[in-house]
């Protein structure tokens, strides 16, 4: 049985424009999937339907045997502990230290009081340092997050997602505000999450090249509909054009060079 099943998912914010319609796909455990598509195609909304950060209007999302749309508050909280999330703007608390932000990932497992008092077990703290070590930012553990560079902050965001011990990590354009070098570091880390820890990753991306390089499978969204869903190497130029509604001219044969 697959880890995640999305069935005929539909979503609209104001009952007029459908952000998502009739979206169907399945995700197996251990897959690394990229979702690509133009801005406004519904990539972020699709991700947020999986952990119900936005409510599901039509269809169903089945995660790990549970129908996400019908969960009550307590069950939803339990579900969210199994789903890590990484954001474009890192979404850390900038005034708190790196280690505090990482430990925020454990709140889903804590009672309200334990969380508010900041009572974390030794294992949790050790795990936090282990993750920071693995992501190469352990020397910044006690620094405030706003003193870190974008790439470093995103690694804190990844550590916060991983300390949840999730079954799946949803990444909403994790490299959209990073330079190419930092982007590569982040994508390598995300890839290693899947390869080494066996955690499924779904990544929203703007860069088709990056999606093709890193993912096993690519889902192309256009105007809320899945227009491509296949292994990465089958994403040809024509199919990219379908997703983005662009028209790439066939590469012109450069004759001038030959004559000069």
């Amino acid at each position: 049985m697959s880890l995640l099943t999305v069935q005929q998912l539909g979503k609209s914010y104001n009952n007029q424009n459908k952000v998502l319609q009739n979206v169907n796909f399945e995700v197996d455990a251990g897959e690394f999937i990229s979702i690509i598509g133009p801005s406004g195609a519904g990539k972020s909304t699709l991700l947020r339907c999986i952990n119900r950060m936005v409510d599901i209007d039509e269809g169903a999302v089945i995660f790990d045997g549970a129908d996400v749309g019908t969960l009550n508050k307590k069950e939803l909280r339990k579900l969210r502990t199994d789903i890590g999330m990484v954001f474009q703007h890192y979404n850390l608390v900038p005034r708190l230290s790196v280690i505090e932000n990482v430990l925020h990932g454990r709140f889903g497992y804590k009672t309200t009081l334990q969380g508010v008092m900041g009572r974390f077990t030794e294992e949790e703290k050790e795990r936090a340092f282990f993750l920071l070590e693995k992501l190469g930012i352990v020397e910044h553990a006690y620094k405030r997050c706003d003193q870190l560079s974008g790439g470093q902050q995103q690694r804190v965001g990844i550590a916060r997602a991983l300390i949840q011990e999730p079954k799946i990590v949803l990444c909403d354009e994790p490299i959209a505000s990073l330079d190419p070098n930092a982007s590569k570091i982040i994508m390598d880390h995300l890839k290693s999450i899947t390869m080494e820890l066996g955690i499924t990753c779904i990544v929203n991306l703007h860069q088709v090249e990056v999606a093709r390089d890193y993912s096993d499978r690519i889902i192309g969204l256009r105007q809320g509909q899945v227009v491509f869903d296949d292994v990465s190497h089958r994403l040809t130029l024509e199919r990219t054009d379908v997703i983005y509604g662009t028209k790439t001219k066939p590469v012109p044969v450069v004759r001038e060079l030959a004559t000069v």
């Binding site: 969210r80 900038p94 925020h104 889903g108 969380g115």
Partner: protein
Amino acid sequence: MNENRIRYKKNQQMIIVVLLLALVTYLSSVLTDFNILHGLATLPEAFIWIFSNLVVTEESLERMPTILDKLVETILMSIAATTTATILSLFLGVMGSKSVGTSKLLGILARFIASLSRNIPVVAWALILLLSFGQNSLTGYLALFVGSVGFLTRAFIEVIDESSQSAVEALQATGATYIQIIMKAVIPECLPQIISWILFMIETNIRNATLVGILTGTGIGYTFDLYYKTLNYHGVALVTVSIVVAVILIELLSNHVRKVIL
């Protein structure tokens, strides 16, 4: 030529405005029976009176311990009123905020409480509370407390609504509870501004406490009133000077704290 004409025109306008002002001044002083020349003539006399009576003398310095006692009492009461008001205001601020508030009804309630206690002046609160609680320091404390709640709630609502909501979303996604999110993401994010408003409120309350004290018979305000009514003007001067010094010291201190935290 042209330039001269413009300048001439401007001068003319100026003269008309000045004449109009003079006329309005004259008319209003006639209507209110106010003789400006008489007022001006008494100015030197008034200053002479102030400098001969409102001076701190050695004799009045003997009262310093009592005054200091009352001053400390007033400052502590202002701080107590502010800190307790802060606790209530934080709840109301979270309730009333549009971004993290839980329900519309509670939000309206919080903003209603805030605007009710803010829009009635502290002096009016003091007089209203005087009727029900009598002349004691509780009344003074309550008057400052109510005024502070109104002001701080309003300030906190704005601070929370202006702060970034991104960390809130991230914590929701980890399965954190509402209270965890408020305590660990919203409050830390807003803390510098919250502390800044608390310091401002303490300053304001010390100033207000003098006035409230005159009305409710507590603290330094009462001492001021007492000396004033017994014609002990040296005492009045000493009280005034000590209030001014205290307020300036508190202001310097809170400016320093602000610099450190921001």
